[in-house]
Symmetry: none
Subunit: 221 residues, 4 copies
Amino acid sequence: MAATKTLRWERRPDSRPQELLDAALAVFAQRGYRNTRIDDVAEAAGVTKGAVYHYFATKEELLLRAIEHYHDRAFGEIGDVLRDAGGPVSARIRLMMRKAFGATSPSGRMTLALILQGVRHDLPEAHQQWLRGGPIKGWKLLASLIEEGKSVGEFRTDVDSEVAARVVITGLITQMIWQPLALDVPELLVDEDRLIDSTVELLLHGLWPTVVIAAAETFEI
Amino acid sequence: MAATKTLRWERRPDSRPQELLDAALAVFAQRGYRNTRIDDVAEAAGVTKGAVYHYFATKEELLLRAIEHYHDRAFGEIGDVLRDAGGPVSARIRLMMRKAFGATSPSGRMTLALILQGVRHDLPEAHQQWLRGGPIKGWKLLASLIEEGKSVGEFRTDVDSEVAARVVITGLITQMIWQPLALDVPELLVDEDRLIDSTVELLLHGLWPTVVIAAAETFEI
Amino acid sequence: MAATKTLRWERRPDSRPQELLDAALAVFAQRGYRNTRIDDVAEAAGVTKGAVYHYFATKEELLLRAIEHYHDRAFGEIGDVLRDAGGPVSARIRLMMRKAFGATSPSGRMTLALILQGVRHDLPEAHQQWLRGGPIKGWKLLASLIEEGKSVGEFRTDVDSEVAARVVITGLITQMIWQPLALDVPELLVDEDRLIDSTVELLLHGLWPTVVIAAAETFEI
Amino acid sequence: MAATKTLRWERRPDSRPQELLDAALAVFAQRGYRNTRIDDVAEAAGVTKGAVYHYFATKEELLLRAIEHYHDRAFGEIGDVLRDAGGPVSARIRLMMRKAFGATSPSGRMTLALILQGVRHDLPEAHQQWLRGGPIKGWKLLASLIEEGKSVGEFRTDVDSEVAARVVITGLITQMIWQPLALDVPELLVDEDRLIDSTVELLLHGLWPTVVIAAAETFEI
DNA sequence: GATGAATGAGGGTTCATTCAT
DNA sequence: GATGAATGAACCCTCATTCAT
């Protein structure tokens, strides 16, 4: 043990990049890309600045590679899940939403979203790519499910599936992203399962073809 | 010669702060707070850096005062509108949402949202205050309307009004904020009226007490 | 005097750029471009780093502008002098060389040469431009004078005027540039007037059509 | 497996330092000492950074040893050649100059000059040593030959042999050093044999005692 | 009131050098 | 012997802020 103490540093060639990526993601998420110094990432990973530059040419590349590294595991499986699933569209929508936002979802997804939402002005390209590969892809998938529901008669044909999908997806993303702020703004706190399930329930109620019951009709304009 | 000299200050000095605030808001919205230099604001206002510091002690104060300046006109009236309005809750929800997000809404509201969403890590206090005075206030208002609808029998009593309000409000805010990016990511583009109206329509359908019609029931799990 | 002491800095808007250029030239000449920090230049000018960047966007621009600033006064007049001068070509060559390298020549010329000779690998463009506007231009001018001498019968027609001009010009430049090193390498020291005059004398003797006298002929191969 | 492992070091280890020196010289000449990273040298030698430090303690030592290594073969023989040679001084001067600058001269000489001319501010000691062992030694040798010519009556007694030798030697060195730049500045290009021979021819004509012929006398001041 | 010159702390990046493997 | 991971000092450049004019 005394021997290891004299080591100025430990050689961890294989795990190091991984660790740096992890550290970067965590620190970027916490302080924001712009407010994070390379030193912060290095410190979080237990190395010095130079070590970071040994693996990543620039700060931007560090973020980009971190995104890339987590992207597959974060955004990969949703489509797959639905491909295997059958049953009514409602059920698949519920499945998708839980998969996308639920506790079992790759936690990295929201970390990525949190980071990327903040680089709109710093790394426009990365931000736009995230929009395309994340939120937009998400609502397109949901919209297509709704369309399917409409075509099989499960949903009302006069719903605006595109808008419905957009609002639900972005609303949930934003709520999730804001959760860590609940420490300072308690009103933000909401149980995630409740958030997802209540949202899905509301959405489906809005989609199903219904006969508005008498009592309600009274109020209708 | 003395006459021409005075021409250097063409405008009434008392309108200066106002103009600076306008310029600041515009530039902050475009480039983000962090990426905006005081010089940028000054240039946009047609003055020099020093003049900005003449009226505002720090860059932070410049933003804070800009926010403050626009806050009332941006977030003030929604409650008032509803106070005067009567009729079914549905109608008032529609009214509120149009007032909050529609073209006639103070355009500053989304500008503020755009800016403030970006200062989460730079000016946490301002960001939190915005959350409280903007989105949270918004969804609390909507939630209370939904609650009212529930209590008068206009809406289903088993809807999660809190979650419904959260998702709808944050979803719309985010969509609005992302619209300027449609130049680079065309898939983001959506007509704002359609966005609002379709969302309200979906929300109300999700809220109304309904009898799900037979066809749909078939699919229900 | 006590009053001026409290001044953190002096405002010298008009003279400052000039002073910075002067300081830059001096420091670059002394330490070399690459080994000079912006701080060194700033310190030499009695300001801080930031002030330098107030006037010059980059270190490279600082050098480029310094070169530019001194170039005209350094390389401008040689051609003019010759245009006015008449008499035998020999006399004009002597005139040119004294003008180009003599004590009355703009001292900046050799400073520029000293600096630019050192940026071959750092600022290739500037280096090449110097070659074109300095040494090459110099030897082209000298070569044309020699050619004139040949055409009017003043010089031997079989001399290689191009090579003669090249060697004389670059030899003198190099000798001049190395003079400051005489502090450490005394063998380098040479009186500048002697350097120029003896070189011209040798050159002219090499150019004039001659009858080699008997004694010398004996040794000729 | 053990067999293939040994293949990693294909060359005899004792030739390594040699190869590193070669590589160093080549790369330093191309990019300049300061702009060359140890990695560049290592790469050029087909090894890695660590290997370089295995043989040379510092970057400076690498250059110093490279210089040292090439110095003898570069600057050694000129004196020897002259010692063996007889005949008129003119002939020996021609011999010396061809030996020093001609195609048969150790090509390393100009490479060394090119490198060392660039380290004036980085490695003053090495630079000064080069001056002493290269150019200065060169012009001292030439000057002594001229003096010999003067003493045996082969040359004019009123020539400034020191200055003549200085200018010719430094002029030629500089021209040689600038030749690689002819790619970018074509005006620099000159045939090396012509450069040497024409220079020698001019020098000798300047040295020989002559009777300036009538025609030329007309122009003399 | 307004200008813009000057400051100085901060952070990204480079690279010679060290040293565990 | 050789590798390349890790260090850390150095330096360029940015920009919020101050203040002489």
